[in-house]
């Protein structure tokens, strides 16, 4: 049972990394970003490429992968997402899905179609009261909590964070104050993509690496964002961990049903609280 809870928290942490960007993009730009987890998979692939190059050092390679995402996500934002402001949701949906298709095909072109092998960078275990914990999962949870606190401070204390929070509430109002909202949106997009890449880099060692890996986790991230409320950052945090726990508990008793249970929860939530977007 302890393992299940730990597993649930680590899945929740990963979901949090990925859905925070999705929630931000939707809240500020009103764009449902299907291409969000593209950066997640590209990050993982870059990590795999960098690791032999850096002679197996995981942390520099991970940092490199996240840094490499920044120009890519900037290009996506600048060339595609920016043109979609104010468009109807259908078109943003289709356009970002098109980016995903292009991206997945590019991954196939560069790294091939077959799944790549990749294993956990640390196999250390921690012993507590006779129960062993895998250090790696604990590390993921710690990073998630640190990130949550960091983002809370960022959005409450810094001027940039305050502008973004204000723009989530009322974009035009902020623009009227003479703030260049687009610039901040761009930064938020890059931040979100970077966090998705971080999620990918941390999750890759405990999952499979293949070109479509982004699409399967994307659906889960959407479920998290819908359950937590689009553009609601704390809601995203709570729902990420709650759904992570749902996945872990389901997997304990019925291993194939884990992902499906998340969607059932999402459907139930939507029945009682339909979101008009």
């Amino acid at each position: 049972m302890v393992y299940t809870v730990l597993y649930g928290f680590s899945i929740g942490a990963i979901l949090y990394f990925i859905s925070i960007g999705l929630s931000l993009t939707f809240g500020t730009m009103r764009v449902v970003n299907f291409a969000h987890t593209l950066t997640y998979s590209i990050g993982v692939y870059i990590l795999i490429t960098l690791i032999p190059w850096l002679k197996g050092a995981f942390i520099p390679a991970a940092a490199g992968a996240i840094l490499a995402i920044i120009p890519i996500s900037y290009l996506i934002e600048r060339l595609i997402i920016r043109r979609l402001y104010g468009e109807s949701l259908d078109y943003t949906f289709i356009a970002t899905f098109a980016i995903t298709l292009i991206g997945v095909d590019t991954i196939k072109l560069i790294w091939g179609v077959n799944p790549l092998p990749f294993s956990a960078p640390m196999n250390a275990y921690l012993n507590f009261w006779g129960i062993t914990f895998p250090v790696y999962r604990i590390l993921i949870i710690t990073i998630a909590i640190a990130l949550f606190l960091g983002l809370e401070i960022f959005f409450r204390k810094t001027i940039m964070g305050k502008i973004v929070i204000a723009a989530l509430e009322d974009k035009d109002g902020v623009r009227c104050l003479g703030v260049r909202v687009d610039k901040y949106f761009s930064l938020m997009f890059i931040l979100g993509s970077g966090l998705a890449a971080l999620g990918g880099v941390l999750y890759a060692p405990i999952s499979a690496v293949h070109p479509y890996m982004g699409l399967s986790i994307l659906l889960l991230a959407f479920a998290v964002v819908i359950v937590g409320g689009m553009g609601n950052l704390r809601g995203t945090f709570i729902s990420a961990f709650a759904l992570g726990m749902v996945m872990a508990l389901t997997a304990r008793y019925w291993s194939q049903g884990a992902e499906t249970m998340v969607f059932i929860v999402m459907a139930i939530v939507l029945c009682f609280r339909p979101i008009d977007i």
């Binding site: 949906f93 289709i94 072109l109 659906l219 959407f222 049903g257 969607f263 999402m266 339909p274």
Partner: protein, 333 residues
């Protein structure tokens, strides 16, 4: 149904030669597919037509009512599976199985529609995607003992009277009749006051509700009709391939029908037909010449979204001429 009698009931009646015109359109479509047959093989044209039926059902939902479903394949898959399972475990009667498949897809649509149509925009799309995912998972894992999981199962329908379902000519005729019937029904529906109502829902739902129409019911009804037609496409798929596997409701294949609908011109029945044929041509032939055809599809989708929103039929329509001008006043294709 009272709402149907009100509204613009009289207006559609000044299509005096409606019967003949509908007949002409059906004739043109049939001729179009017959012309395609010698150019590409008959087997392929059959696939094209099945896909066109599916595109038409999607167009009703997206083009007419403005609900982008990213999980419409669920209903196609339901139709296909019910058809296959009935053939395999129940009676080996293709027509009964088709009826059952269509009804099953309709029932599923009626049930899920109760929840689905409450949402709009992205929420609707994501819910459709989620339900499609659940359906895909159901046939893959919990129902594995009857659906045979990933491998799928064969569904060989026995001949009924002179209809031998192994003969591709017979299959071609069945699919063509189904396509023409679906086209005719949808044409009547979209030209009727009901069609105007669902287009109004797309434009401004609040206003329609303000006028006193029960929009929830009409949205649900449209959803059920679209599910029924998608189910029909599913049963035809299973009848055609004599084989059912989870790929028929693979979540990632949904983009195909969205693409077809957009490239042909959303909100036009002709658009859905042209888009269906164009998409099938691309996916069948481009894949032979260009290995990276998904990338091509992505780029084409981007171009459509940014530069080419009216689709092929939209441009054909605006070419002018008497016929087109008359169409423009009654925008239903």
């Amino acid at each position: 149904m009272e709402a149907k009698k009100m509204g613009m009931g009289e207006k559609t009646d000044d299509f005096t030669p409606r019967g003949t015109r509908a007949g002409l359109e059906l004739f043109v479509i049939a001729i179009g597919f017959f012309v395609l047959t010698p150019l590409i093989s008959m087997h392929r044209v059959k696939d094209f037509m099945i896909f066109c039926i599916f595109a038409l059902s999607f167009d009703l939902l997206y083009g007419y009512m403005g609900r982008l479903s990213f999980g419409h394949l669920l209903y196609l898959g339901t139709g296909a599976y019910c058809f296959g399972l009935f053939i395999k475990y129940g009676l080996n009667n293709a027509f009964l199985a088709m009826l059952l498949g269509v009804l099953a897809a309709g029932c599923l649509g009626a049930l899920l529609g109760l929840i689905m149509v409450r949402a709009t925009g992205a929420c609707f799309s994501l819910m459709a995607l989620a339900f499609n995912h659940i359906g895909f998972f159901m046939v893959l894992s919990p129902l594995k003992h009857i659906t045979n999981g990933e491998d799928g199962f064969g569904a060989h329908a026995q001949p009924i009277a002179f209809l031998n379902f192994n003969n591709k000519g017979v299959l071609f005729a069945i699919v063509l009749v189904a396509l023409l019937a679906v086209y005719y029904i949808l044409r009547r529906l979209t030209l009727s006051p009901y069609g105007i109502l669902i287009r109004s829902v797309k434009e401004d739902e609040t206003r329609v509700r303000f006028l006193g129409y029960p929009t929830y019911f009409y949205k649900w009804l449209t959803f059920v009709i679209a599910s029924l037609i998608a189910g029909l496409a599913g049963t035809l798929t299973a009848l055609n391939y004599k084989f059912v596997n989870p790929n028929v409701m693979d979540v990632h294949q949904n983009v195909g029908v969205v693409f077809a609908c957009l490239i042909g011109g959303a909100g036009k029945l002709y658009g859905a037909l042209i888009g269906g044929v164009v998409y099938m041509l691309i996916s069948n032939y481009l894949a032979i010449y260009i290995q990276r055809w998904e990338m091509f599809l992505g780029i084409a989708l981007l171009i459509i979204v940014f530069r080419f929103r009216r689709g092929i039929w939209g441009y054909v329509e605006s070419l002018g001429g008497y016929f087109q001008r008359r169409k423009a006043t009654h925008p239903a294709g």
